[in-house]
Symmetry: C2
DNA sequence: CTGAAAGCGCTAACAC
DNA sequence: GTGTTAGCGCTTTCAG
């Protein structure tokens, strides 16, 4: 399939065939109201007959809008971001927009260059789960200087002048910890995440729930991990402690899953001797060695709401206040905390 | 952030500042060889000073190439397709291309409209894991009529005139079944996938391996499923059989994981009484109740190779023969077949 | 090596 | 209702 056997049909071709102006055809295509019924009918027929497809590149250049919005995520393999992407697409497609998705590989530099490219492609707006260092402002300033609306998701950057949509991390931390307490745990350890807002929020919620129950735990009960392998290692260290924790709250499901693996490997029973909680409700949680109790973040909902706000900002004439939306989490109790 | 405080810099602005023609600046930007060293230096300096960013929409319209390739997958949440996407992006980014990813939701109609949109956006090429019915040709004919190069991945469509890159499904079916046989299974059941080439190929490989070992199994040993829930149901039916299978080969990891859940729930031990195999090596396979033996499909490699072929076709002057590339699978033996 | 001319295919704004 | 006039910002082609 080298060259198009037949070059694509243009507005001009339709117009010539019908002896009308290009503008008239253009208006019909865009469903403008000011076209005669009869003319419209003929044009529509011809369009179908010649199988005309608008050229969006030309349209974008002339209209100075591309109807493309960029979505930047740190890792496409995480189903969390896949779900967000689906929520975004489902919201904007009916409105005539397309998404282009970029993977920053959890790297601020890569992310910056991805964003530059999207900007060069003239996207109408940006949705970013940013991999920038927590107090950075550079990238956001550049986007703002270009005047392109953007919405931050999953990770908060208080210094950025943008709306934010994400899970309520503190609440999730509280819910998870309270749940373990209710189930009888007295020595609750936490495997915290990387130093980004989701990890920090969940840690804060964990501490609040402990304080509210008047529980003290040794510093050694706080570990760190970012995936299943490091969660496994973290749990091994926790298991060596004396007294050993009787509850582990992992900042996400992979970390909690890795922790469970270490616990079971050590011959310790879940949930009898140690109860475990995660966050994220990844779809395989129910299939694990011991089905994992977790908290659903409402990923698709994050995508939908963020997209909605972005489109609102794009469409709005005037500047809007930068809202912060926290999605309400849902606890899902399974075997690991029975 | 409503309007750009300062309108974007254009080639024309740079040219005016320097008293050179727009063409000269354009050539410097595109790294054409025919520009004087001194001129180039000055232009480059000005570009940096004014922070010029090329407008890709205008560039695409004039050059009649967008440097965008479209990737259409049936489900973004599957990490398999996430990995493919990463492989694709990693290959084409350095060459100046961007990917736009679409999710067809396993629906041929949605896929067709996604492809139409991508075509309207003037993508330079398409990568498709197609959700069309197996013997359909309509969509492919339309793409071919437009003269846009495309490569099929994961699912084969013999009637389409396009290169194909995917896992070697028959080989995976043989490998999985042989592995179960080697581990001592004598009554091997198969939970087959939907009637698409991956499922059909694995089923064929399963049958070949059985035949080669002179094994006969009752028809009731063949079940169907597409995910963990249906895999669970399928396994429940298998467990009710007499004689009961002593090995189950699930066409993918979710189906196999669901099957394991049913088996364990019935109080049957894995691997002692029933051994289980999957395909896909999803990253959580190691965390399941019983770590799942599986076969790695080399998803990232599929993405890389498909992208490489596509770029080759785009760049090539003449038509190339439509190659078929099968990625070599790797067996990963874990607890479930010990 | 440099630049002028001529669009790419479409749309905004305003006349008729 | 319809069509005209001007581009959008860049690249192609080809003459200097």
């Amino acid at each position: 399939m080298p060259q198009p056997p037949t070059p694509p049909v243009r507005l001009k071709d339709i117009a010539r065939e019908l002896n009308v102006s290009v503008m008239t055809v253009s208006k019909v295509v865009r469903e403008c109201a000011d076209v005669g019924a009869e003319t419209r009918r003929k044009v529509l027929a011809k369009i179908k007959e010649m199988n005309y497809q608008p050229n969006w590149v030309a349209r974008s250049l002339a209209a100075r809008r591309t109807f493309i919005i960029g979505l930047v995520v740190p890792d496409l393999i995480h189903s969390f971001f896949g779900e967000i992407a689906k929520g975004v697409a489902a919201t904007i497609r009916p409105l005539g927009y397309d998404v282009v998705i970029c993977d920053s590989e959890e790297n601020g530099g890569v992310e910056t260059s991805e964003v530059e490219r999207l900007l060069a492609r003239q996207v109408d707006g940006l949705l970013i789960a940013s991999a920038q260092p927590p107090s950075s402002t550079d990238l956001f300033e550049r986007i703002e200087a270009r005047g392109v609306p953007y919405v931050l998701i999953d990770r908060r950057f208080p210094l950025a002048q943008a709306p934010y949509v994400g899970a309520d991390d503190e609440e999730m931390g509280r819910m998870a910890t309270r749940h373990l307490i209710e189930r009888g745990c007295r020595r609750i350890a936490h495997i915290a995440g990387p130093p980004l807002t989701p990890g920090a929020g969940r840690l804060k919620g964990y501490r609040e729930a402990l304080a509210e129950a008047r529980m003290q735990v040794p510093d050694s009960y706080l570990e760190h991990a970012h995936d299943d392998a490091s969660g496994y290692e973290a749990a091994r260290r926790l298991l060596a402690l004396d007294p050993r924790p009787d509850g582990i709250f992992g900042y996400n499901d992979p970390a909690a899953s890795g922790a469970m693996k270490a616990v079971l490997e050590a011959g310790v029973r879940i949930p009898e001797e140690i109860k475990v909680m995660g966050v994220g409700n990844v779809h395989y949680s129910d299939l694990l060695r011991v089905p994992l109790s977790t908290i659903d973040q409402g990923a698709a909902s994050i995508g939908r709401q963020a997209a909605g706000i972005l489109i609102g900002t794009i469409t709005a004439k005037r500047k809007r206040p930068a809202r912060t939306i926290l999605i309400k989490p849902t606890l899902i109790a399974r075997e690991s905390t029975r």
